[in-house]
């Protein structure tokens, strides 16, 4: 299988074929990093474009992302951690008091599919937990989600907690969720807000540009 064939299989979300192709390439001595940058990522870029145009839908994007991940999983042990290509690390979590995670998960999956490294903290994450995780992982971006009008206020506290230990200097904070608006983001000192998962990817692209 050549890179072009791999791209096609990523586009179609064919996990088996991407796995087989990656194995074949590794056996024939292809450079692991090139398998990622030329075999897997270009296919996923096509997927991103088609999604934006409304020709592909979320479940298909996820299938392609799964196929890409299957390839990356095989290559990963052969590459030093620091050499793994990433567009940036994003720390994600639903804020304290809120158990809703479908929106956050969608953003995480879309970000991963577009080459970001996502560390998903889960739901009901306290400001202290956000601060501790940020100190540990040193991400470029922190993403917070809330569905409830009552829990979105925890976003303000989380940003305050990050500010107190000066973490907001080097880290961009984005927020999202059904009740969240751009005005609210501005009011609580967030760096950005995205109304949907697709826009969240674009926002992160701007942050790391």
């Amino acid at each position: 299988m050549d890179f072009k064939g791999m791209n096609e299989h990523v586009l179609k979300g064919n996990v088996e074929e991407v796995t087989r192709g990656t194995q074949e390439m590794l056996e024939s001595g292809a450079e692991p990093l090139r398998i990622i940058s030329e075999g897997l990522i270009p296919g996923m870029n096509v997927v991103g474009g088609l999604f934006k145009k409304g020709e592909m839908f979320v479940p298909e994007v996820m299938r392609s992302a799964k196929a890409m991940s299957a390839g990356i999983a095989l290559v990963r042990p052969l590459i030093a951690d620091s050499d793994i290509p990433t567009r940036g690390t994003v720390l994600m979590g639903t804020v304290r008091g809120d158990l809703h995670d479908i929106g956050k998960n969608l953003v995480s999956m879309m970000l991963e599919s577009q080459g970001f490294t996502v560390i998903d903290l889960g739901v009901n994450i306290t400001p202290e937990q956000f601060v501790a995780a940020a100190e540990k992982h040193r991400p470029q971006i922190i993403g917070m989600s809330a569905l409830l009008t009552t829990t979105m206020l925890a976003m303000r506290e989380t940003i305050k907690a990050l500010q107190e230990v000066n973490l907001t200097d080097g880290i961009k904070v984005m927020i999202g969720g059904a009740p969240v608006t751009a005005a609210f983001a501005k009011e609580i000192g967030a760096d950005g807000y995205a109304p949907d998962a697709g826009s969240a990817v674009e926002l992160c692209e701007q942050f790391v540009a």
């Binding site: 839908f57 479940p59 299938r63 995670d101 998960n105 999956m109 109304p195």
Partner: protein
């Protein structure tokens, strides 16, 4: 397996019980036998008298057995083909097809947004737009061609349609001569009269005159259609409170008597010739005198006639996609949304008048676009819910469990396309993205879509030799006019 369980049930409308329909039918037979109808056409009177009707001058009283014979010989299924000879509208119980409306003096100009007299170019453009729209299945002349000679505008309008669409055409004709000219043109398009007879891509729309009259012109056309086996829609618009009783049931009796007596004449001329039942009992507004196109009173009558037609096993023609609003506004959208759904639920076969505003006097291309989009919604809804092991998805629910999500499941991938609806004009953007996109209204987007489709869509042209021969017919007509 489970016995006697449909795997899929579509959605429908229970408007009249079988018993109620029987009562309307009995009352109709009583009217036909005792009151009768007036027929102003000689051949029909001779046919009726010769076959056993009680004819006294123009008044014809029809015995029950004649009505029963006509109902028995009329075809249960009529198929309209497209210009390429493929079956396009199969008029059988439960199959719905939407089409544009007919013969409006005015149109709303797509460029200026102003109302003006319609021209033959408008008729062609409307046919082309309807041809491009997925959910418009048949075409009527969305405009009266004010720039053609009045005596033959029917033929010019037909030409504008047949050269701008391949979909089936429902047309009107001024008189028998107009009908014969259009038939001649259509035979050229179909590749011969026999081909046209076998695969008609057209149907005539004609009307009795309420209450209980058949004009000379209408019956001449009815007889000519029977002879040439051109499917004919012979349906009334009996105005409740004016040309029919104000009660829905009473106006249905009058409307039914008019078309059943028409059917008797038609089947006497040629048994088995294709006849389409339906029409409406719109209210005459007893304050403003208008004949409403957007009111639920009209919808009630139209859908009731569909139900009666289904009871008779006759193909039906009905009305939706129209409004009393004089501009393309909220009322237009609301009324069309309501009547398109109701008509779909009733299951009438040919549902015409998409694009009609201004109480049937104004055409609007934006309205046509709205109707197409609405029919898309209606059809999605009418499909109902498929219930079986695969769609119940218990295995998937087990696999995902509490707190998980279904977005990445194979089951979602397999089924999401057939379970989601694509929209062209309706907003599905969130507030931010909608504002980023220019915060455009439905009206602006519908206008843009109409213009885009008109610019992009191409209709295969008729062969040059056919066009030449059509041109000869037009020249002949012009010669007669001069």
């Amino acid at each position: 397996m489970k016995v006697n369980m449909a795997s899929q049930t579509t959605v429908g409308l229970n408007l009249l019980s079988e018993d109620q329909i029987e009562e309307i039918h009995s009352a109709t037979l009583q009217v036909l036998q005792t009151v009768g109808v007036d027929v102003y056409e000689e051949e029909a009177l001779v046919l009726l008298k010769g076959s056993g009707a009680d004819v006294e001058g123009n008044r014809v009283r029809i015995p029950v057995w004649m009505v029963q014979e006509a109902l028995a010989s009329a075809p249960k299924s009529v198929t309209l083909y497209n210009r390429q000879g493929e079956a396009a509208c199969v008029l059988e119980k439960g199959r719905i097809y939407y089409g544009s409306g007919s013969d409006t003096p005015y149109t709303i100009d797509l460029e200026t947004g102003k109302r003006r007299l319609a021209t033959n170019e408008d008729v062609g453009n409307a046919a082309k737009l309807a041809d491009a729209l997925e959910h418009i299945n048949f075409i009527m002349s969305l405009g009266l061609a004010s720039d053609t000679p009045k005596e033959s505008s029917d033929v010019y309008q037909y030409l504008a349609m047949v050269t701008n669409t391949t979909k089936p055409i429902v047309f009107t004709a001024h008189d028998k001569q107009g009908l014969l000219d259009i038939h001649e043109i259509s035979a050229l398009v179909a590749g011969g009269e026999r081909e046209l007879r076998r695969k008609p891509f057209l149907a005539l729309y004609a009307e009795p005159s309420s209450p209980l009259m058949h004009s000379k012109e209408a019956v001449e056309k009815l007889l000519a259609c029977a002879e040439k086996e051109i499917p004919v829609i012979y349906v009334p618009a009996t105005m409740r409170g004016a040309t029919g009783p104000v009660t829905p049931a009473g106006s249905l009796v009058v409307a039914n008597a008019e078309q059943l007596s028409g059917l008797v004449v038609h089947q006497l001329k040629r048994r088995g010739a294709p006849f389409i039942y339906g029409g409406g009992t719109p209210p005459m507004d007893l304050r403003t005198f208008i004949c409403s196109y957007g009111s639920p009173e009209r919808d009630l009558g139209c859908t009731a006639l569909v139900k009666i037609g289904q009871h008779y096993n006759l193909p039906t023609f009905t009305t939706a996609g129209c409004s009393d609003a004089h501009v393309f506004d909220q009322q237009a959208g609301m009324e069309a949304g309501f009547n398109l759904l109701i008509a779909g639920l009733a299951g009438g076969n040919l549902i015409h008048d998409a694009g009609y505003i201004g109480i049937g006097l104004i055409s609007s291309m934006e309205m046509l676009v709205l109707c197409d989009e609405t029919v898309n919604n209606v059809k999605y809804y009418l499909n109902g819910i498929e219930v079986n092991t695969e769609t119940l998805a218990v295995d998937v629910i087990k696999a995902v469990g509490p707190g998980g999500n279904f977005i990445g499941e194979e089951h979602t991938l397999k089924h999401f396309r057939q379970n989601r609806i694509n929209t062209h004009v309706l907003n599905r953007e969130n507030l931010d993205n909608w504002e980023l996109g220019g915060a455009r209204t439905f009206g602006e987007l519908a206008n843009e879509r109409a213009k885009e489709l008109l610019a992009e869509h191409e209709v295969p042209s008729l062969p040059a030799e056919v066009l030449d021969r059509i041109e000869e017919i037009v020249r002949r007509k012009r010669g007669l006019e001069e």
